[in-house]
């Protein structure tokens, strides 16, 4: 975890791609390269057994569109609504020579499949004394902003991060999405790959060829020395907004996007705090036992002497996600809330000014 280069370039052509397209590319090219890669889930093709078009959805968010026509129903498998059986099938197949990419349409559905994730897939390797490997990816959409209400808007990354044996990936742009998905597929452990549903159309230049982004290496969308801001997934957008506003005031923010929550590049965070002495963490999840306090705890333990001010966390409140737009907007962390926290931390002194 020494090379913290931001978006290392690979040679060759790039194209403007959305996150949706970048993930689709990653899947398609890995499926071409490796016949053991399969995709399964509800509506990953769509139209199974129906009289109308095949590939009617390609995933309800369109992420797997076009895979079934190219690779057939044997490798792009529409399933009944049975999430535990979906994850179980992926895990059992991963133990037996395939590299499945299973989709939970909404990651909120871990509730009905959590045992297969945390007691089965995550634990095989350890329980079996290292004698099995489980190369599988679970893709799921997370997050609010869609007015989808309490059961379709959660951020559950902190729960899976708590589980040893799982890797947890949360890309914040198309470049990372592609490189991290390729890594996730090639990785020999179960990987939870969380896609924020409001970000699918976000686009940037993405290399046409396949490349891996190693897990546990943060990226640095903005660099600075006055305050460290750690943000992940859609929260990176807000962190960049705040950093850019403050830059005009001559304040430089070190924005760290860990990209993978587990493993976490805590070295990058600790190194940054060593310079800035000030830390704000923004996370869309609920606060208790969440990622924000996780990172705060790590720094309070291992970076204490660098700190010049209290750590601040900006998270959702300790409530479910409300439906009404006004409430959901108030629920979600955003640039304004982050700005307030950053200014507070900048103003605070080591003596408690």
């Amino acid at each position: 975890m020494t090379n913290h280069a931001n978006n290392p370039t690979v040679g060759g052509k790039t194209s403007m791609k959305t996150i949706r397209e970048a993930i689709n590319d990653a899947l398609r090219e890995e499926m071409r390269r490796d016949p053991t890669v399969i995709v399964l889930g509800e509506e990953v093709s769509g139209g199974a057994g129906c009289e109308g078009e095949d590939d009617a959805y390609g995933g309800v968010f369109g992420v797997t569109k076009g895979l079934m026509p190219e690779f057939g129903r044997e490798r792009v498998i529409d399933t009944p609504i049975s999430e535990a059986a979906i994850i179980g099938a992926a895990a059992g197949a991963a133990n037996n020579g395939l590299r499945p990419v299973a989709e939970l349409m909404f990651f909120d559905f871990i509730g009905v499949s959590f045992d297969q994730i945390f007691n089965q897939a995550a634990k095989f390797r350890y329980m079996f004394g290292g004698k099995s490997k489980t190369p599988m990816v679970i893709r799921g959409t997370v997050g609010g902003g869609w007015r989808a209400g309490a059961q379709h808007s959660s951020m559950l990354h902190s729960i899976v991060t708590h589980v040893a044996g799982l890797k947890v990936v949360m890309p914040a742009n198309a470049y990372d999405a592609k490189g991290l998905m390729v890594q996730a597929i090639r990785d020999d452990d179960p990987v939870i790959f969380l896609e924020h549903k409001v970000m699918y159309d976000n686009a940037c230049e993405v290399p046409d060829e396949q490349y891996c982004i190693p897990f546990g290496e943060a990226s640095f969308p903005r660099q600075g020395s006055d305050v460290t801001i750690v943000a992940i997934s859609n929260m990176v957008t807000h962190a960049i907004t705040v950093a850019d506003i403050l830059a005009k005031e001559g304040i430089s923010c070190d924005v760290i996007d860990p990209r993978t929550v587990s493993p976490l590049d805590h070295e990058a965070i600790l190194e940054s705090v060593e310079v800035t002495g000030r830390l704000v963490i923004i996370d869309e999840g609920n606060p208790r036992c969440g990622l924000a306090s996780d990172i705060a705890g790590i720094v309070a333990e291992h970076g204490f002497y660098s700190l010049k001010a209290p750590i601040r966390t900006v998270t959702a409140p300790h409530t479910p996600v409300p439906f009404a737009p006004e409430l959901e907007d108030a629920y979600l962390p955003n640039a304004d809330k982050l700005m307030i926290a950053v200014r507070e931390v900048l103003a605070a002194g080591p003596s408690g000014a």
């Binding site: 199974a48 129906c50 009944p80």
Partner: protein, 323 residues
């Protein structure tokens, strides 16, 4: 005449209210007045009404993501519903739930459920409460051909049989789970055969025929009320709209919806039957139609004028009763 005029008018009014509510929902959604994503149940009205018309407010139903019809059939106020779906603070759930999480405990409506298969275990609980407290109330869950494949639903059926719970499992088989055919997702190709395997009476009825559906449900409900335990009723029906509003429905055959609206409309079928039997007059139903249009219009106008929730007071409240 096997049914009272009052009963038949009430059935008609409720079915038609659902239809107009749903059609208006689509319109308001397309007009940008309904946030989130919304699943409408037009085409399936006969089942909701047949299932709920004999239930009291103390009888409990558990619904699905496609729950508007069940709400209306169970007596929820369409004004409160419209406000909820539009996210207003005077909505049934203060705007915190929305279409996929609408509930009305006072009316015995235990909630829509955005988790497919989430409801039946809960409805077992309502049935268990009725049994334990000796109230003679019953509980009824709505299920789909898709949710039927969820483990929670199977578990709920088995537990209902084991504990002899007064729980009527209604399966609305509209042929689709999103864009997956029922005949693909249900391995056995027959929900009813599979349900019967769980050790309870199971029947398949024509869900477009209100009367057939009602008669089957009546027996099931009486059985439950009299301590006879659960029943599973599969009702074959048609979904007139997309899975969600805006669904391009590429998976459906050309003209399928058009033909269904023409030939498989449960409300048309009801009207034709009651007229041809001489049970109701067209004029009486037409008069109801007008009333309903006005009622829905009022519901929409009121909802659009209704206050939005206030984050300062509403965001952090209602998490716990006591903390």
């Amino acid at each position: 005449m096997p049914y009272s005029t009052e009963f038949l008018l009430s059935v008609y009014r409720t079915m038609k209210t659902i239809r107009e509510f749903e059609e208006r929902c689509v319109k308001e959604f397309e007009g940008g007045n309904v946030p989130g994503f919304t699943h409408v149940s037009n085409g399936q009205e006969a089942i909701a009404v047949a299932a709920c018309i004999d239930l009291s407010d103390k009888d409990i139903i558990g619904s699905t993501h496609r729950g508007h019809g069940h709400c209306i059939a169970k007596g929820c106020d369409v004004g409160g519903m419209m406000k909820e779906i539009m996210g207003r603070s005077t909505g049934l759930c203060k705007g915190k739930g929305g279409s996929m999480h609408i509930a009305d405990i006072d009316k015995g409506m235990l909630g829509a459920n955005a988790i497919v298969g989430g409801g039946p275990p809960l409805v077992n609980g309502a049935a268990l409460a009725a049994k334990t407290l000796g109230t003679k109330n019953v509980a009824l869950s709505f299920n789909g051909d898709g949710s039927a494949n969820q483990g929670t639903v199977f578990e709920a059926m088995n537990m209902a049989v084991v504990l002899k719970l007064p729980h009527i499992f209604v399966y609305e088989n509209n042929g689709y789970a999103e864009g997956t055919a029922a005949n693909y997702g249900v391995g056995s190709n027959s929900l009813t055969d599979r349900n019967a395997g769980f050790g309870m009476p199971a029947e398949c009825v024509d869900g477009l025929d209100f009367f057939a559906t009602y008669e089957a449900l009546k027996i099931a409900t009486e059985r439950a009320r009299n301590g006879g335990g659960p029943t599973a009723i599969e009702a074959m029906c048609v979904r007139f709209d997309g899975h969600f509003i805006g669904d391009p429905q590429l998976y459906r055959a050309k003209d399928e919806v058009k033909n269904a609206r023409k030939n498989q409309d449960c409300i048309k079928i009801f009207r034709e039957r009651v007229i041809s039997e001489g049970w109701l007059k067209a004029a009486a139903m037409n008069a109801i139609d007008k009333e309903i249009m006005a009622e829905i219009e009022t519901a929409v106008v009121d909802a659009l004028a209704a206050p939005h929730p206030d984050p300062a007071t509403d965001l952090m409240s209602d998490v716990y009763c006591s903390y």
